[in-house]
Structure formats: structure tokens, C-alpha cells
Symmetry: C2
């Protein structure tokens, strides 16, 4: 059971009418496929794109599972300190794959997971109050060991941990960081902390299948072999030399053509699934940080990734989608089989108008809404694609993750940008260091302090 | 202590440079202010725009508080069944104003709140397992009583409730619906259920300060008098005839000019606050559903509202914001005072690089990141505004809600569309009825069933 991509309504002249990819342009994209794919494969062969090979690294998976087994039953809480690529994949997979809390039909043998991805004191303090350090495992994730948000949390939780358990604090910490570089590696070594490696050639937003996501997954009981198998399957299809059989290439090429040729600058991922809702945030980072770039000609490029969740957003964003500017491309995620589906019961007397719902299931209703909304947006002339997901399980989720990552890397080839750097975040980082008084950033400090971008005498109400 | 809006960097020639509102256009907007405001006031005077007057309705607030007092201590869980405007405001206020769960410094006298805003069986079934009906109060919210998502949940929870508590099910249900119309009102009357009214002249996305949001708020212990006082204050400022002193009008006019004159079609609300993070989703519905319309000339118009949360999204979207197309307008929400701020502790030996963090607070770090990111986006030429929030409390949240609602209504005047209808969602709704076999929609059913928008022989991988 694998994913399928139906891109009929991405192409001009499909049922959605005239807004869509010109079939001739799509043929040109097919003609360029060999070249683009070979460029990607070349980078992979030269060792740059480690994410391609993560699904095959069964020994890292085994190490995560072995560690999880060794601490099984010991911790009530897992606190992951991470931000961006160190948080979003784990959050998305947690929503999709973790057994729902308090599911009384299953043994309650898994801890609670908190992914602390901000420095707001209300969040950090809240987790500190909820998660008793004595029964908590802390997983700090930072490739460089210098991420200000993650490391400030680490200082706080470390202090609380030492106060609570004394010398045995070392048994409550797992470090996920670079193999050699950065500040966390020597700290882990000195204290003989359990540690895992973020491979050098895997960037944060491509790292969900490394220990960044696998370790929390092992602790939470996700089916990791299935996850990697699905990812491997998705990777293999996404490397097909036959453009028409390569979902990642086709999805990327359509998005690229919609953006650059059709004025469709936004792309909306629209899962009809509560459990897949956080795939949206993971995908937003992946696309935004990879493709939002200045290209070689100095042009600012990149589509604006966005999300919606069905059926909820029918009551929020669909009005705009249906009647607003046709500058958005939609990809529906339709779930074909809802495990643990529920029957909508008989209506009571006096609510006869609801008779049509009784006897159907919630899964049927959700699916009808997905089909209905796709049809309505198609009739409104909005380009859209449909990814059918057999069932929300580790295999299909792994496959989707890999489709998205390969499609994004492929997008880098199409746009002619480096999909793996993020030079645009440096300025803000350096200004933060200046404002926080980090040594070596004194000049930045005076520059920033001296700047009055909010002149109180000017345009303030 | 009130909000301020600094729009210096929305205007061309500000520190952000050339992408921004032309000052002459802003003067024209000021010249048209009297006319736009008078049109809004006229609609209000004719009884159409009930949301303007909700802050003054202290008797409804008192009724909500009185009911909450009468059931105080009786329920462990509140389950709100609602979607769109019946859910988003409550979710946003819950994140902002509810005492964090398990805050051990406060008496644990408040129930848990679940807002069930989707029909995915994994969500509905999860809530059913977590919330024991015997100790749960169910608040069903639907103006018409025909919302398929909400009513199917209602059928399920009603059945579970009757099975659990027999005849006393009536004491576990509160109905929030229209005063006279719809299916829920007679049902509530027949069974003498406790009920509240959604005023006839208040649309879903403008209803957060009606019993839709006030009743859950009363049950959860939000400071409702402060919330309404802040809203009244915001409303009064937003009705100022002096354009330069009217934050809602200026915010709306800048967004309108950025969209229609400067190619800045997206607007990003960017709170630097964990507690304000869900204001984004509430605001997305408000703007998308109100302004995403076909105008009188048949043009598809409307900005694309979007969100980001600081500091988290610095590691996700800021790369695109800084280097991608300059087609996005940002509004930062900066919190000036973080209650319950936390000190970042001393760094341990071996992590000397973190010395600059020690002794600062998490609130200081978050604020430095907000200032740094605003500066970085300004230097990158991106139009942006800054709303300063004295503190995340009921007063400032109420003020912000009212600013946004008035700005959106004002936007309707500027774009020349009806900000209070949603004709674009009908097609999907009708198609759903068809697929679900609702009587009277047989024709739609055969139309929909007959449509093959996803032809399996065409463009499927």
C-alpha cells in the first residue's frame, strides 16, 4: 500500500480549467528530468545529501531502539529541547504515530512527550512544572551546541535536574549533536553522557529520519522499521529516471511552473486528517528555508508554503481559496482508510434533519468533505493535486516525508538555488547576539542599540 | 496599559526602504476615512454589525459567570463542539488566558477544556476516551444547528452521555445557538436545556465576545470583565474619526494599499509569544473569510493571511521572509512584560560559550530575538509593523481582538466587498450533503458521483 499522486488538476485544461501548468512546459520539464536528477545524484554521490541514505541506516535505528529498550519503563516524561528542524519532524510524527494519550484500550506504557521549541517563559516554565525531573528524560538536540533557544533551555533543565537527582543527572540526559564539532560533543564526552550523532551531511530540516526524530520515536514506540521502509520506498520512486513515474519530480516541477509561469506563488498543503495536521508545519519549514533564496541572478525567489487542515479550515480559509485570487496551488492529502473509525449514532427525536448523518461514520463524513472541497475548488478554477494515503501509519508517513524532501531538493535544481543553506537567518542571529551581549558582538550591539527602527515620534498610535 | 501600533516600516521611505505604502496614498486613505467610518457606523446603527456592541453587553457576561458559578467544581472536563468561528476564538483565548494545566502554585479548581473542531475519528474518539461523560460538561455551539461536523459530534457525545448518566444527561449539556432559528433551539426548549444565544447580527468569525467565547471563558476562569473592558477600549479607539489616531483604520489601510498598490499580497501576523500563538489562526479565519471575495466588478480579491510564531519560526520561515519575494507584510506582536519570567542559570564548566546567556531571563532573550528579527527584516527591505503588547492579559487580548475585527470590517469598506458573508463555502457544503445522501440533495449527489476529477487513467503516479 503506497501513496499516489493525482496531478490532473494541476495541468491547464484539466477539470479546473485554464489556471494550471501548460502541458508543453510539463513536457519540457520531463525533457530536463535526466539532467536535474543527475545533478542531484551527483551531489548525493559526492557525499553532500546525507538525507537520501538515512532510510538505509538500520544500525542507527537499532541503536535508538536499544537505548529506548534500556530505559523502558523508567521515565514518565520525555522532554525534547530543539527548535526548527530539531523539533518539527518529531512533532509531526508524534501527532501521526504516537498512541493517543489515555487510550484505555492499550497498555499505558509510554511516556509523555514534550517538544520545547520556544523560549517563552510561559512554555519553558510550564514544562518545568509539569515534568518532574526525577522521572524525566531530557533529550537536547543541537548540531552546533550554540543554538541560543535550545541551550538556554538546557541550562535551566540541567539545573533543575541536578537539584532534583544530584549526581545521577547524567542518566537523565541524552545529547543529539554533531559527531565532532560544536560545544555539546565535548560536554557529552567529559560527562560520559549518552549521545547520538546528527550526520555532518544532513541539514536540520532534512534530519527527521536521523536520531533527531528516531530517538524520540524509539522512546515513544513508533514503528521505526516501517517508517524507514516507507521512506526507502518513497526515496526509490523519487529517484526514478522516468519523469512520469516519479511523484517527487512531478510534484516539484508542477509547483515550480505554477509559481514561475502561472502567477501561483503560494502552495497549500491540505491534509484531511487530524493526525497529519502537523505535517503542514514540517513542510512549511522544508520548503520555505530550502527555496526562499536569492538566486544567482540576484532575484528573490521562492514559493510561499502554507497549510490548511480539513475539514476544519472549510470554516476558515476555503472562502478565500474558492473566491479569492487564483494564486494558490493546493495539495490535498486524502486518507483512504481511517483505523478506529466511529459510527455516527441515531439522531434523537426532534433532530430529524440530522437523519442523513446517522449510520454513516466519521471517516465517511471526513472523506466526503475532502472530495466535496476538492470538487468545489476545481469548479472554482483552482489548481490542485491529490495525494491518496492508504492509511495513517509509519509506512505511508515515511513515504510522504521522503517525497517532500526529494521534491524540495529537486525544486532547488529547478529554481537554481542551493536548497541546503540558510544565509538569510544570519542577520537576525547576529543582532540577537549583539542585544544579548555575547562577547565578540560588541560592534553589532552598538549598531543595533543605535538603530531606531521604531521612532516613538513617528507613526506610532 | 494599552496596545500601540508602530507602522513606520509599512510606509515607503521608512527604514525598510522602497517597498511600502506611498505616503501620498496614505494621505488619500486619511481623506477617505470619514466616509469609510461613516459607512461602517451606518451599518452598525442599522443593527447589522452586532460585534461592535458585544463589549457593552455586561448582562450576557453576568449570565455566563452565573452559570459557571452554579456548576463550579462539578465538572472535570469541558468539551466544546464547534468549528470555525465557534472554535478558533475560544482556542486562542484558552492559550492566552487559561491557567496552565498543572500549575502547582495555583489551586487546581478549573476543568480541562477540549475544543473539538474536526470530525476525524482519531480526534473525536480520543476526546471520548479522555473525557468521562459522568464528569464532563458538553457545550454544543452552532448558530443554525445544521453544521454537519458539530452535529455529528453532538450525536456521538449525546449517546455516550445518556449511556453514562441516564436521565440526568440534560444537566451535562449547554447549547449555544440562535435565539429562534435552527434545529438546536427547539431541541433545547423541549428538554429544558441550559442555553445561550448567538445574536442574530453577529457572524461566527466575529462572535468570540458573545457566549460562543464567553461561556467557555467563564467556565475556565478568564477575567471576563477585563476582557470586555479591553475590547471596549479597543473598539472606541478604532472608531476614532482622526485617522492618525485610529490603529484599526491605519492597519487596515496599510494592508489594503500594500496588497493593491505594492504587490504585497500576503500578510503575516508574527506574535513573539507562546500564549498568543493561536491568535494567528483566529486572525487567519477573520481575514480570509471576510475579505477573500469576488467584488462588484467580478474580480477575485483578498490578501492571503498567514502566521508565524517567534522565536520558533526564525528557524523555519525567516529565511524565506528575509530573502524571498518581498510580497509579504509583517505585523510583529511584541510583549513588553513577561509575567513569571525565568532566569537562565549559570552555565556549567565546559559550556563557557553560553556565558552570555547566564543571568539574563528567557523573556529578555525572546524580546531580543523579536527586536533582532524586526531589524533584520527591515534591513532586508520587508514592510513591517509592530504592535506592542504591555502584557499578555485579558485586557490587552480583548483590545487586540477588537482591533482585528474592526480593521477587517474596515477592510471590507476599502476593498468594496461584504465582509460578513461567505458565499464561497456553499458549493463544498452542498457537495458534501450530496455525497452523504442528505434528502433534497439527490441531484447534487448524482452530479458529484458522476464527476471524475481524478481520472485514474490520467496523470496519476
Amino acid at each position: 500500500m503506497v501513496l499516489t499522486l493525482d496531478y490532473t488538476c494541476f495541468v491547464r485544461g484539466g477539470p479546473q480549467g485554464e489556471v494550471g501548468v501548460d502541458p508543453e512546459h510539463l513536457e519540457q520539464a520531463a525533457d530536463q528530468h535526466a539532467e536535474k536528477l543527475s545533478s542531484l545524484k551527483g551531489k548525493r554521490d559526492s557525499g553532500q545529501l546525507g538525507f537520501f541514505d538515512l532510510p538505509d541506516d538500520r544500525s542507527t535505528m537499532a541503536a535508538c531502539l536499544e537505548y529506548a529498550e534500556s530505559v523502558s519503563g523508567r521515565f514518565e516524561n520525555i522532554v525534547v529541547m530543539g527548535i526548527g528542524g530539531s523539533a518539527l519532524g518529531t512533532q509531526a510524527l508524534h501527532a501521526a504515530l504516537s498512541r493517543p494519550l489515555h487510550d484505555s484500550r492499550l497498555p499505558n506504557d509510554r511516556p509523555r512527550l514534550f517538544v520545547v521549541d520556544n523560549v517563552d517563559p510561559s512554555l519553558v516554565g510550564g514544562v518545568l512544572r509539569v515534568a518532574n525531573p526525577e522521572t524525566t528524560l531530557f533529550n537536547v538536540i543541537s548540531k552546533s551546541g550554540s543554538t541560543a533557544e535550545t541551550m538556554s533551555q538546557f541550562l535551566l533543565f540541567l539545573e533543575a535536574l541536578k537539584a532534583a537527582v544530584g549526581d545521577s543527572w547524567r542518566d537523565h540526559i541524552v545529547v543529539t549533536t554533531d559527531a565532532q564539532q560544536g560545544f555539546l560533543r565535548p560536554f557529552a564526552d567529559v560527562h560520559a553522557l549518552k549521545s547520538f550523532v546528527v550526520p555532518d551531511n544532513v541539514g536540520g530540516r532534512f534530519s527527521v529520519l536521523s536520531p533527531v526524530g528516531l530517538l524520540p520515536g524509539a522512546l515513544m514506540g513508533w514503528n521505526l522499521p516501517q517508517l524507514l521502509e516507507g521512506a526507502a520506498h518513497g526515496r526509490n520512486r523519487s529517484l526514478s529516471g522516468d519523469f512520469a513515474q516519479n511523484p517527487a519530480a512531478v510534484w516539484a516541477a508542477c509547483h515550480h511552473l505554477l509559481d514561475t509561469r502561472c502567477g501561483v506563488h503560494s502552495q497549500v498543503l491540505f491534509p484531511y486528517s487530524h493526525r497529519l495536521r502537523l505535517m503542514v508545519d514540517w513542510n512549511v519549514q522544508l520548503v520555505a528555508e530550502s527555496l526562499g533564496k536569492v538566486d544567482a541572478q540576484g532575484r528573490r525567489i521562492g514559493p510561499f508554503p502554507h497549510g490548511a487542515v480539513g475539514a476544519t479550515d472549510q470554516h476558515s480559509q476555503v472562502q478565500l481559496f474558492a473566491q479569492g485570487p487564483r494564486d494558490k496551488a493546493f495539495t490535498f492529502l486524502r486518507v483512504l482508510n481511517h483505523k478506529d473509525d466511529l459510527l455516527i449514532p441515531d439522531h434523537p427525536q426532534g433532530l430529524d434533519e440530522l437523519a442523513y448523518l446517522s449510520g454513516k461514520t466519521f471517516g465517511q463524513l471526513l472523506d466526503a468533505e475532502c472530495r466535496a472541497t476538492q470538487l468545489a475548488l476545481t469548479d472554482a478554477g483552482c489548481p490542485n493535486a491529490l495525494i491518496s494515503v492508504p492509511e495513517v501509519d509509519a509506512h505511508s508517513v515515511g513515504e510522504f516525508l521522503m517525497w517532500s524532501m526529494v521534491a524540495t531538493a529537486y525544486g532547488g535544481e529547478l529554481y537554481g538555488v542551493d536548497a541546503f543553506d540558510q544565509p538569510g537567518v544570519e542577520a537576525g542571529k547576529v543582532a540577537t547576539y549583539g542585544l544579548m551581549g555575547r562577547p565578540g558582538f560588541e560592534q553589532e550591539r552598538s549598531r543595533v542599540e543605535g538603530r531606531k527602527i521604531s521612532d516613538p515620534n513617528y507613526r506610532v498610535i
